[in-house]
């Protein structure tokens, strides 16, 4: 299947603005934090300290960092199950994210969500959601609420390219365009829905073209370049905030690891050569080299940054390991508002 030749807006490589050096270095720090965090999470998973599924984000860091940097404190964010990176980039404390992976009470979802369900309402981080595409209508609902209340908020939704083939995606984007909602849909196209390559699942190759069905603004974005990602997202957010028009961003990225910790980096569905080739555009290397080339960072500075981040991750790891489990009575809290429910099939009540 050939890549479409349909003309459309593409993010142009932008020049560096030296006045924003601190901000740029902040992005790099966040990307490195996500990378080191994920490596540590993978290690902890192998040691049995993290349960369930664990979907690593390694290789896609520039997407979360570049896009979330454009948002304000009141905006709403929803993600899929591969959301550790977004949670960290949004500013959920590293300790709280790691503790959640460990299932501890100090976790950002009190140990009840786990890897796929990170939440922080105070940051508008309204969840990792684990049914493919199921959260896209939720994000549309948040954009609807912003319009209903006439606020200036934007609802941003991250999902993988596999989600665009299901009904939730179409229904949600149709309504967002129909009702002119302040929404940004970010498709992180990492080429593989679990082990199924895009061209084996999708009748069209260019996901951005899906937006044409709804007459919706769209862009194809290089997700391995944080500056390009930031610029494209900035346009989309302004379009949502000022013009009340939604946007679909198709972000071309790549995951260097398997779909989850249960599948190898390469295997039946992709080759070692392909992964190695993609690693040449590691977003962290791309950005750090750019900053060094522009004179906004030097090698000792990069090393120091890395050391700082490694320490932060190690601290989070120690914190998570030592943090207590939720108390046994927490089993029955948070099912309903207010008091805990009775177990309908539980033991006899006292007479």
């Amino acid at each position: 299947m050939a890549e479409s030749t349909v003309a459309r807006t593409r993010a142009k490589r932008r020049g560096i603005d030296p006045a924003r050096a601190d901000e740029y270095r902040g992005w790099l720090r966040q990307m490195i934090l996500i990378r080191r965090f994920e490596e540590k999470a993978g290690e902890a998973y192998s040691l049995g300290k993290i349960g369930g599924f664990c979907h690593l984000y390694i290789g896609q860091e520039a997407v979360a960092v570049g896009s979330l940097a454009t948002l304000g404190p009141d905006d709403y964010i929803t993600c899929s199950y591969r959301e550790h990176g977004h949670a960290l980039a949004r500013g959920i404390p590293t300790r709280a994210v790691m503790a959640e992976l460990f299932g501890k009470a100090a976790g950002c979802s009190a140990g009840k969500g786990g890897s796929m369900h990170l939440f922080d309402a105070s940051l508008g981080f309204l969840g990792g959601h684990a049914i493919v595409g199921g959260h896209i209508p939720l994000s549309t609902g948040m954009a609807f609420a912003a319009k209903y209340r006439n606020t200036n908020q934007v609802a941003v939704c991250y999902f993988g390219e596999a989600a665009v083939n299901n009904g939730a995606f179409h229904e949600a984007l149709n309504m967002a365009a129909l009702w002119k909602l302040p929404a940004v849909y970010i498709c992180e196209n990492n080429r593989y829905g679990m082990g199924t390559a895009l061209e084996r699942a999708s009748a069209i190759y260019d996901i951005s073209e899906r937006a044409c069905s709804y007459d919706m603004a769209n862009e194809v974005v290089d997700g391995q370049d944080v500056l390009v990602m930031h610029a494209a997202m900035d346009r989309a957010v302004q379009r949502a905030r000022n013009d009340k028009h939604p946007t679909l961003l198709e972000v071309r990225t790549y995951r260097f690891m398997g779909h989850s910790m249960s599948d190898p980096i390469h295997g039946h569905y992709r080759t070692r050569e392909e992964v190695e080739d993609q690693r040449k555009r590691d977003p962290i290397a791309v950005w750090s080299q750019r900053l060094i080339a522009e004179g906004l960072l030097d090698e000792p500075g990069l090393k120091a940054l890395n050391k700082e981040v490694v320490d932060e991750v190690e601290d989070a790891y120690q914190f998570a390991e030592q943090a207590p489990d939720p108390a046994p009575e927490e089993l029955y809290t948070h099912v309903y508002a207010g008091s805990s429910p009775a177990d309908p099939a539980g033991p006899s009540r006292p007479a």
Binding site: L126, I131, G134, L138, G141, A172, Y336
Partner: protein
Amino acid sequence: MPTLTYRDALNQALREEMQRDPDVFLMGEEVGVYQGAYKVSRGLLDEFGPMRVVDTPITELGFAGVGVGAAMVGLRPVIEFMTWNFALLAIDQLVNSAAKMRYMSGGQIGVPAVFRGPGGSALQLGAQHSQAFESWYAHIPGLKVVMPATPADAKGLLKSAIRDDDPVVFIEGEMLYNLKGEVPEGEHVIPLGKADVKRPGKDVTIVCHSKTVAVALKAAEQLAADGVDAEVIDLRTIRPLDQEAVLGSVVRTHRCVVAEEGWPFAGVGAQVADTIQREAFDELDAPVLRVTGADVPMPYNKQLEKAAKVDPARVIAAVDSVLYRD
């Protein structure tokens, strides 16, 4: 007290709640310009405008999800399903999103939404339009399931459902919309989770809800003529189930029949029967019997359809059995 139809009682509840709270809005297929497929939303578009009475495309999954998302950030949506049969397309949003959001966020995010519309069978609508799904939703921790049987209950329970901080599955009886009854004006609120004694009696307890309340009352009337004093308990809320009301009645009557429109397998009656045998086994003078819809997809043929439905004769037969009169 004014007499209203079940339909108009629901309309009144919606209107009053939308007047009271600007965060309450109605969304669904044909709720606005068309005035509601069953006319429950008649007049609301004129009064509240298109931002609060929102016509949607035919996309149950999509607009149910929009409702959940809006509720996650504090609005109080009332999502109308044209029928609960169509809501099957949205069940992922109710089960995987609405019901679990509070729990998996560690208590941070609630979903104060109401999902409502007609359920159960009407007349000769065939298998895909004649289904009672309350046991499906009642199975899910995190959801509440409410089913009013009378106009007054329809108003009082819908107002409570809208004010509730949890997702409520509110199933209206498709055959009940024209039912008339006295409805209190203004603030009339019935707490969720409280059953109602629709007819007191001492010989046998008939537990029912929604459409089968009228069936049970008719059966009780005929039984009374035959010297049997039946108590009719309307569950009103399936989840949380008012175990105390059911058990209290069984302790007085020692016999129980559960009547419901749904299929028998893993139905609401199974839960009620389990509760009774667990909590009041020694009080029973006969096994708890269940009268349910036939365990088949609903046939179109009028006579077959009649045979598939719960009617007073079948309730009476079950009562006769628990009284050992058969």
